[in-house]
Amino acid sequence: MTRYFTAEHEWIDVDGSTATVGITDYAQSQLGDIVFVETPASGARVTKGGDAAVVESVKAASDVYAPVSGTVSEGNDALADDPALVNSDPEGEGWFFKLTLDDPSELDGLMDDAAYKAFIAGL
């Protein structure tokens, strides 16, 4: 399994043609207390760079973009009851949705762990 990152602070774990998407620890720390998450329904189509989910902190709503195009296979239902999972375990239990990739080559432009660490260090 390989993890990639976007400049918009999403992470994506890829395992063959399926992947899991969430927001990074840096992103949750910037947002603060998460009070609501809207995840896409199973079967929804998402487009690389397009809106895929919404995460709301006490102070603001933020869009979460799809790191790659594909078909959603599952949204994380646990976030409906416990949106604070995004704060406590953003890169684990606080995942947003799983999808089937249209085109694995879309991963090519994303950052690996080292590149993302360097990226946020420069923010």
Binding site: H9, G32, D33, V35, E56, S57, K59, A60, D63, P83
Partner: protein, 379 residues
């Protein structure tokens, strides 16, 4: 991921630093531009800071707000030309919430006015202060002196334990009741303190020389009840308290009656008129406003925020002007304007968020009861 709700108070010029800038940063604050200044949005987190204030005492930096002294012969009558409050009847040491009004009755800003020994002490919104000063200069007679206290900081200590902490440092502040103010000393430093604030809690607002504010805040935070609190919690606290925020819930297009600020129209002024827009406002006061500012309880967990439209069936009946998650209510809440026919508490309406309808119910404000220290009230 990206913010869809950027702060709209950002001015084109680079934001300025306030006297407590380094103090906030040393305490781990995240600084954001607000009203032309860099201000702390949060320290440990909005939720924890909000709940701490409701339970204990929170220290807020509100030095971005404008502090003015108006003085000169006839200052009361001169200011009454611009506001609907009874200024002549304001005794020394008393403070009153009031409004700067436009000729059509719209609200130019909301403000606090206190009778201080040197004159009338005004506190106006940070984002509006330059406009307010220009408005006062234009409309007050030349022999009224307007002094902008730019060398003074302003902090607020809010919460049920604020009095316990502050009276150890400034003996005698516990003698003030809600909306009373007076001169105090911290060592040799003069303080002007009012028992007021914008959280719905008991508390104080303290004006002091900017050069001493960091030391004073250190001293306050040495008290076990006190923690510094950011702008984020200030907003959620005032929303729960049903208090309107200028530029969001009030602006030049809202009049005091529809904004549910009829209490700011003093009895004598209602009888006499003679303030800007008095005809329109007194007519609305007598007849009832066409729309009303109301509280909205929101079903489910999804926040309904500023700009969301409000519907009764297919008919659009209003708009949300402030909304978010309420930590003490542990639910999303909002306030906004709805047509008078839909403004009764209990009215079931819907708000539209990202193309979806969410059930909302008109609710009596405040969402969380005020706990002011009123004179004569049972302690």
């Amino acid at each position: 991921m990206s913010d869809t709700n950027e702060p709209d108070e950002i001015l084109p010029d680079a934001p300025l630093a306030l006297p407590l800038d380094a103090w906030h940063r040393a305490r781990g604050a995240r600084m954001v531009p607000f009203a032309g200044y860099l201000m702390p949005i949060q320290y440990e987190g909005i939720m924890a800071e909000h709940l701490w204030t409701r339970d204990s005492a929170g220290l807020f930096d509100v030095s971005h707000m404008g502090q003015l002294i108006l003085s000169g012969d006839g200052v009361d009558a001169a200011l009454e030309v611009l506001v609907p409050g009874d200024i002549a009847g304001l005794a020394e040491g008393r403070q009153r919430y009031s409004l700067l009004l436009a000729d059509d009755g719209g609200i130019l800003d909301d403000l606090m006015i206190a009778r201080a020994p040197m004159g009338l002490y005004l506190v106006v919104n940070g984002a509006m202060k330059w406009d307010d000063i220009a408005h006062l200069r234009e409309h007050l007679p030349d022999d009224i002196n307007i002094s902008h206290l730019e060398d003074r900081a302003l902090i607020a200590l809010q919460g049920p334990k604020a009095v316990d902490a502050l009276k150890r440092i400034v003996p005698g502040v516990d003698m003030l009741s809600f909306m009373e103010a007076g001169s105090f000393f911290w060592g040799l430093e003069p303080l002007w303190i009012s028992r007021s604030g914008y959280t719905g809690e008991d508390g104080f607002e303290i004006s002091l020389p900017a050069e001493h504010v960091a030391d004073f805040c250190d001293r306050l935070c040495a008290e076990p009840e006190v923690k510094p609190i950011g702008l984020g919690a200030r907003d959620s606290l005032r929303l729960e308290a049903g208090l309107p925020l200028y530029g969001h819930d009030l602006d030049e297009t809202t009049n005091p009656v529809e904004a549910d600020l009829g209490f700011a129209l003093s009895k004598r002024r209602r009888a006499e008129g003679g303030f800007p827009g008095s005809e329109v406002i007194l007519n609305a006061h007598a007849q009832g406003a066409v729309r009303r500012r109301v509280g909205l309880s929101v079903a489910g967990r999804m926040p309904v925020r500023e700009g969301a439209e409000i519907f009764s069936g297919a008919e659009k009946v209003g708009v949300v002007t402030s909304g978010g998650f309420a930590p003490s209510a542990n639910a999303p809440i909002a306030m906004g304007y709805v047509s008078a026919a839909q403004a009764a508490p209990g009215t079931a309406l819907e708000a539209e968020v990202r193309g979806k309808r969410v059930a909302v119910t008109v609710t009596q404000l405040p969402f969380i009861p005020h706990r002011y220290h009123r004179k004569g009230a049972a302690q």
